[in-house]
């Protein structure tokens, strides 16, 4: 099957002090190559500062990579402009970690969901309100909440809104950057299940970024393990969970209490 997203030898470095002629640089991403197939989920795991989120932002085109390339559906993403860029943006949507920061506090949440419809000119001005209500229903939210402000919603509700906003443009790939780590356990399970159901229904692929191995085990088909900007392990979820080949992956697994008990398929959804 053709890869929907291919990341080839992606590098990203940041200047870290030193005089202009001898800048020290921090390698946030160091030669990452991976791919996501249509409708599949790649879990991207690593500790804080391992470069997971940077990779997500590079794929979204929000951060410019220093080297390598991101290829979406056969087309390199770097240097896209105008219609092609807009088309790429429509097909790749983010869901962010912090449900407090991902919605404009001055906008009713319905307007945030509608933003993509307006920007990508999906439907007509008259039909968009209906589309927003459909999206609210699809993510299990009462459409009456559309006129509320984010401050009036719970964390779980906000994350549902964020997912609805990401789904508005009918994307083929969702970059989910720690979408549940800011939520309570019980809400985490609801949002994860919603996410997986939607993916199954709509055939959306996803790059699922998380530090939580229990979560990644639950949602992903494949797992990529990132450590200090380097890809240390890449394989099918079962394979990586049962027979981790890299020492870093083993230490990650050992740090996860549920998995130590020998229940590789237990998920933290209770």
């Amino acid at each position: 099957m053709a890869d929907l997203l291919r990341v080839e030898n992606l590098c990203k470095s940041y200047p870290a002090g030193g005089p202009p002629w001898d800048r020290r640089r921090v390698m946030a991403l160091d030669g990452i190559s991976l791919s996501v197939q249509r409708g599949k989920t790649l879990g991207l795991v690593g500790e804080s500062g391992s470069g997971k989120s940077t990779l997500g932002r590079c794929v979204l085109g929000l951060t410019e990579a220093s080297g390598g390339q991101v290829i979406f559906d056969g087309t390199p993403v770097q240097g896209l402009t105008g219609r092609a860029l807009s088309d790429f943006r429509r097909r790749v949507q983010p869901v962010f970690q912090d449900p407090f920061g991902s919605l404009d506090p001055r906008w009713p949440v319905g307007r945030s969901v509608r933003e993509a419809l307006d920007c990508f000119r999906i439907g007509t001005a008259a039909t968009r309100d209906g589309q927003v209500l459909d999206l609210f229903n699809r993510v299990g939210l009462d459409p009456a909440l559309a006129c509320r402000f984010p401050s009036a919603l719970s964390g779980g509700q906000r994350q549902r809104v964020a997912i609805a906003a990401a789904l508005a443009s009918e994307p083929e790939l969702i970059i989910a950057d720690e979408p549940v780590s800011a939520l309570d356990m019980s809400v985490q399970a609801q949002i994860l299940n919603l996410f997986m159901d939607l993916q199954a229904d709509l055939g959306v692929a996803s790059l699922f970024i998380t530090h939580d191995l229990g979560v990644v085990n639950h949602v992903s088909d494949d797992i990529a393990v990132l450590s200090r900007g380097k890809l240390v392990e890449l394989g099918q979820t079962d394979q990586v969970m049962r027979h981790p080949s890299h020492a870093y992956t083993r230490s990650l697994l050992a740090a996860n209490p549920t998995l130590v008990k020998g229940e590789p398929h237990a998920h933290r959804t209770d």
Partner: protein, 274 residues
Amino acid sequence: MSRLRSTNAMILAGLAVLALLGVIAVAAPWIAPYDPEALDVMGVMGPPSLAHPFGLDVLGRDVLSRVLYSLRVSLLVSISAVAVATLLAVPLGLLAGYFGRWVDTAISRALDMMLVLPAMLMAITLIAILGPGSAVATLAIAMIYLPILARVMRTSTLVVTGLDYVAGSRARGASHLRVLVSHVAPNALGPVVVQASVLSAFALQLEAGLSFLGLGTQPPTPSLGGMLADGRDVLIQAPWVEIFPGLAIVIAVLAFTLLGEGLRRVFDPRGVAE
């Protein structure tokens, strides 16, 4: 809770006094008992009386009428100076904070160059070039506060630009212009509003200072600073010439400061939490 109430009280008190001063300034021609430029040679330095509640100045002009007319000029100059500065500072700070890189470097270094000159020196230099007067004083005060306001705007823009909803909006296909206008600007404006109202107090003082030195509003148009300059020589014989315009400055500055401090508390997240 009590803090919230005292915050609202500050804003309300500031606004109420400013509104009163504003009405006085606008209505000065109708409520002033005398022509502020009319001389009464017989009553020079006459003390406060029923006919002249604030007394008469060295040329026999009614101090009350002059204070009322002065407020007009002082408020007009200080408010329009800060308004001009804000209107220029907001887009500059937005561009610098949002786009970063060379845009930020160019704008920030230019602002730094404006900040290098001490406020008074900069005002005097500008006035030396363009000539004294209310309009030039307004321009000079605006130039002094422009870099301060632009920096405040830049900083709050930096914070908002880093938030996920800005990145999300870009990913949802919004253009830079759209992101700036609909997300960044409204959410980054709070601190600038606070700073602008605080700076209005300083602008009023600065205008009075410039007029005192004879660089701002020119006689015979009455101005608070000019009146202070007039009364300085007769402080012992006729203190009312000095005291009433001085009080007017104090009250106006206090009102701006109260409003600014109240707004600052509203926008300060720690104030909301309590």
